[in-house]
Symmetry: C2
């Protein structure tokens, strides 16, 4: 029997859901893959860390949820930093789930480099590294013989990167587009219902659709990072988020939406990227008017879509319907399963 | 360098498009996989057959298109039957693309069994065998150490079977639904525009959306075979098309559509299947009313969709937008590439 030791950097909503899923599926993985998946390190920002090379008792840790204090009697509880863990702990694969800095991708990029330097596999749920340093990181992974997976970065566990790699063999991606930011999708929909901006922001915060500082979403930075990640992986674009032509929804008024509706149209924040004739990939995030009967118009609230056009398979779209945190967790879990499969070979 | 010898049973619109794609991509496959893919047999119903263990000159054969006579100077031209080829010809993988008998799956099932009996790999673009004999055939494939692929059976090369196998690891499918028949989709749309039935059928035939005998589509037999194939593979349903609760669109009138529209609804022929509490899988094909703003309402004309619900990843949908014959061909081509990868291991 093999063993796979997992270090988790970050253990908030998504991280603790990954922990629960690993606990639930531990025996099934063991039976199916003859592999004992153990979590040997968990690092949080405010709750301290747990490091135990023998494997942390996930059922105990998960009881603390996404914010509660870890049980005091748990072995290995301390105050080790993410950088310490990634540099020194005993693990085979690290799951990078620390908070995102959307303007630099750090400190996640540094964590990932340290792991590859130690020839450890890496899974990132953090879009920063894929948006800011994909080429460098994927090259480091290859040079060190490491696996590097990041399905959750766009649309949780919905197959987007895996879809293109495993099911569209020999296809060349020529165009990518999608609706990838729930916050702006929600705001535009509520504006269309005639609600005023302040009350939308208030109910959005209550529902968890709107962050304390909503500028990252509203001004299109989050969408720009996601489309950059898509284009870097699917089209080898070699771009960074600051190269995306970016217009947010901050200047869209209820009146704009009403006027669009009078023409049978709906305003959506659309991400897109295209292979130009000169071989460059150009990218944009901007509000566009789509026909009311169009598939894009049906993508409401937290639902999202990516459309991928290839030379051999034309255009296909993948929709994730109304995901919960479990779908984010599944993205990381599915990547862990891929590592389990990879170490069997 | 490896060699993969392909026998093609059927060389109509889709088959000849596969031939063109194999000719176009021959050198790229050779470079990428170090494998020489040769077509060693082509069987047609009315144009005779070509059998050449050294490899048929595809550029010559493809010039005949989907219906023209094969060039007389081509080596190996004769009158061998599909059954002869599958039993006796020199090949590693057979592509089953003979005309479908939707009520039995024959003679395709027999062809496939003969191939497995000779320990040859099988790709079928023919939905009959997957709808009528999936369990038996997949068991024969396993017993004989053969690969068995059928991506094209539902939505051409759009990843549906591969998606679930390669990208939704450890997920259990609990529900499947979709709009999978273009003919009925086209007819319902045109009826909604106020056109009369006879003129729709006439223009549909001209556009290639309506078959000479449209009953298979209109009465839901085609959709029933497709949903059966989906459920047999994705949910191990072990059902046959006659077990699907089936209602076609033959009794839907322009008036029904108008009344639905007055309630903000559109009529679509929906396929669906569900895992019941007792472990059985139930399936239906029937006209249903969907909300005008719903994603399903946006699936127009030849576009199609499959939605898959799993325990771990919730609901995702995959849409194929307005496919051409090249997308059907890609499904078979992608399966051939999978065989090429499989024989490397």
């Amino acid at each position: 029997m093999k063993t796979l030791k997992v270090a988790m950097l970050g253990f908030g909503n998504a991280g603790s859901a990954v922990g629960r899923l690993l606990a639930d599926k531990h025996d099934e993985i063991m039976e199916k893959y003859d592999c004992d998946v153990k979590v040997t390190a968990i690092v949080t920002g405010k709750r301290g860390s747990v490091v135990d090379p023998e494997g942390i008792d996930l059922s105990k840790v998960c009881k603390a949820g996404a914010t509660g204090a870890f049980p005091e009697d748990i072995r290995g509880l301390g105050a080790v930093s993410a950088l310490d863990v990634v540099k020194n702990a005993d693990y085979d694969v690290v799951c990078e789930m620390t908070p995102l800095n959307i303007f630099s991708g750090e400190p996640a990029i540094t964590h990932i480099k340290e792991a590859f330097g130690r020839k450890k596999h890496v899974i990132t749920a953090n879009k920063g590294p894929i948006a800011w340093a994909y080429d460098e990181l994927s090259q480091m992974a290859a040079e060190n013989g490491c696996m590097f997976f990041y399905e959750t970065v766009v649309m949780d566990g919905t197959p987007v990167f895996n879809l293109t790699e495993h099911t569209l063999k020999m296809c060349k991606v020529t165009e990518v587009s999608g609706i990838l930011n729930s916050t702006t999708n929600y705001i535009l929909e509520e504006l269309a219902k005639g609600r005023d901006y302040d009350s939308i922001m208030e109910s959005g915060r209550r529902l968890g659709f709107v962050e304390a500082d909503p500028a990252m979403d509203i001004e299109g930075y989050d969408a720009a990072a996601k489309v950059t990640a898509l284009l870097n992986v699917l089209m080898k674009a070699g771009i960074t988020p600051d190269m995306v032509e970016r217009t947010g929804i901050e200047n869209i008024t209820a009146d704009d939406i009403k006027k669009a509706a009078s023409r049978g149209k709906v305003i959506k924040l659309l991400c897109s990227g295209k292979l130009e004739d000169d071989g460059r990939v150009t990218a944009s995030v901007k509000p566009v008017e789509v026909e009311m009967g169009d598939m894009l118009a049906s993508i409401d609230s937290t639902t999202s879509v990516v459309s991928i056009t290839t030379d051999l398979m034309g255009k296909i779209s993948v929709i994730e319907h109304a995901p919960e945190i479990e779908q984010t967790a599944y993205g990381v879990f599915g990547d862990i399963i891929r590592v389990v499969e990879g170490i069997q070979q």
